[in-house]
Amino acid sequence: MNKVYPGIEDALADIQDGMSVMIGGFGGSGAPIELIHTLIDRYRKTGSPGNLTVINNNAGNGAVGIAAMIYAGMVKKMVCSFPRSSDPKAFTDKYLAGEIELELVPQGTLAERIRAGGAGIPAFYTPTSYGTLVAEGKPVAEFDGRMYVQERWLKADVAIIKAELADTKGNLTYNKAARNFSPLMAMAAKLTIVQARKIVPAGGIDPEHVITPGIFVDRIVEVSDPKQEEVLLREGVQA
């Protein structure tokens, strides 16, 4: 068993038009910049993959990463909790022009829906959003005297995430708070593609320290010096 792909293009080859794509990261922390931009390059060259539904906490910042995907015109819909950032222009302009859809999901509900997708739980109840616009149209129920909203699982065709270490069997660790949504997304996607700062042989990660067990990971590429979205933004990278 060896899940390592030599090239990013190959690893991403099965991402097609119209797919739902979970993208790890919270702002720039954990954003798989090289995977995203390789996908953008392909779209610019071939017109595919377009019409994507992108699932992330945010909706891009500046002109890098998800914002660059939006500028490129690949994204049909964002599923996120917070489509604001220090420079949210990419999303905001298209959203206000009616050119991109938004499904707004409270952050904890987003995380739990993704986990539920990975864990085979089709629906669960949460107090979050009860009595608000966000809960409109959703079933509600009372448990132990309190009202709750029923939320459905969230799955995706693909997850693209960034790890710190990966072993050849797909076991992963993350760097600090870059973990965020990535372990959940790895569980909830049919195909999970990982860029890792370093790939080590099987056994190279202490079994006690594995955060994402390899069963949730399909493909790994090594990106040994990954770009940091926040740094690129500060360097003023343009669309």
């Binding site: 919270f26 906490n57 604001r84 409270p106 904890g108 993704i114 608000t132 966000v134 600090k176 955060i211």
Partner: protein, 223 residues
């Protein structure tokens, strides 16, 4: 209108009520200021939605690690005893009632504890983040806010006019003029600026202020 507390002074007052050993989530923006005013000798453990417990102050300029940020996407540092976890575990802490205190900002707070703090209505891009989770998770949900809007209209109201963040969720409101607990769907006045009469405070409050026990003086140092 009489003098009022600055934002820093509101944050200072809220900080005094956070007990030693508390697990606390501070909302993005103004609420983050509360951390600055932690009383000496108290230990407070801060939680951030993106999966860090027990983070510390911002690092010196140039020493930022952009993988180590808080929910406001600002760089932070770690205290000894910090831990990382994924987003579902992070919100298990929130939703599961493990946080002692959450402090948020507000557009409006209603006397029944309803909170509106995420949307100013149609025409803007809606963004909710973790607020809707936090208001139903923490044992105490505190709001810090100016007592009135920039136009001088009450932010403490009978019923919110803006889209709700949560229903019946706020426990205490720290404003520029007063400290108010929400008890049985009523605003119960706990403290007010000594320079202001109850009538003057009532005049800038959109719902009845209930007096239930002594009303303390809201005295805050220059900070």
């Amino acid at each position: 209108m009489t003098t009022k507390l600055s934002n820093a002074q509101i944050a200072w007052r809220a900080a005094q009520d956070i007990p030693d050993g508390a697990y606390v989530n501070l909302g993005i923006g103004f609420p983050e200021m509360v951390a600055k005013f932690k009383p000496e000798g108290r230990e407070v453990i801060y939680h951030t939605e993106n999966g860090v417990l027990d983070f510390g102050e911002a690092p010196p300029a140039g020493e930022e690690d952009w993988d180590l940020i808080n929910a406001g996407k600002k760089p932070v540092t770690l205290n000894p005893g910090a831990s990382f976890f994924h987003h579902a575990d992070s919100f298990a802490m929130v939703r599961g009632g493990h946080l002692d205190v959450a402090i948020l900002g507000a557009y409006e707070v209603a006397e029944n504890g309803d909170l509106a703090n995420w949307s100013t209505g149609p025409g803007s891009v809606p963004a909710v983040g973790g607020a809707m989770d936090l208001v139903h998770g923490a044992k105490r949900v505190c709001v810090i806010t100016d007592h009135v809007t920039k136009k001088g209209e009450p932010k403490l109201v009978k019923k919110c006019s803006l889209p709700l963040t949560g229903v019946g969720c706020v426990t205490t409101v720290y404003t520029s003029l007063a400290v108010i607990d929400i008890v049985n769907s009523r605003f119960v006045l706990r403290e007010k600026l000594p320079s202001m009469s109850i009538e003057e405070l009532q005049a800038v409050t959109g719902a009845e202020l209930v007096i239930d026990g002594p009303v303390g003086d809201l005295i805050v140092p220059e900070v």
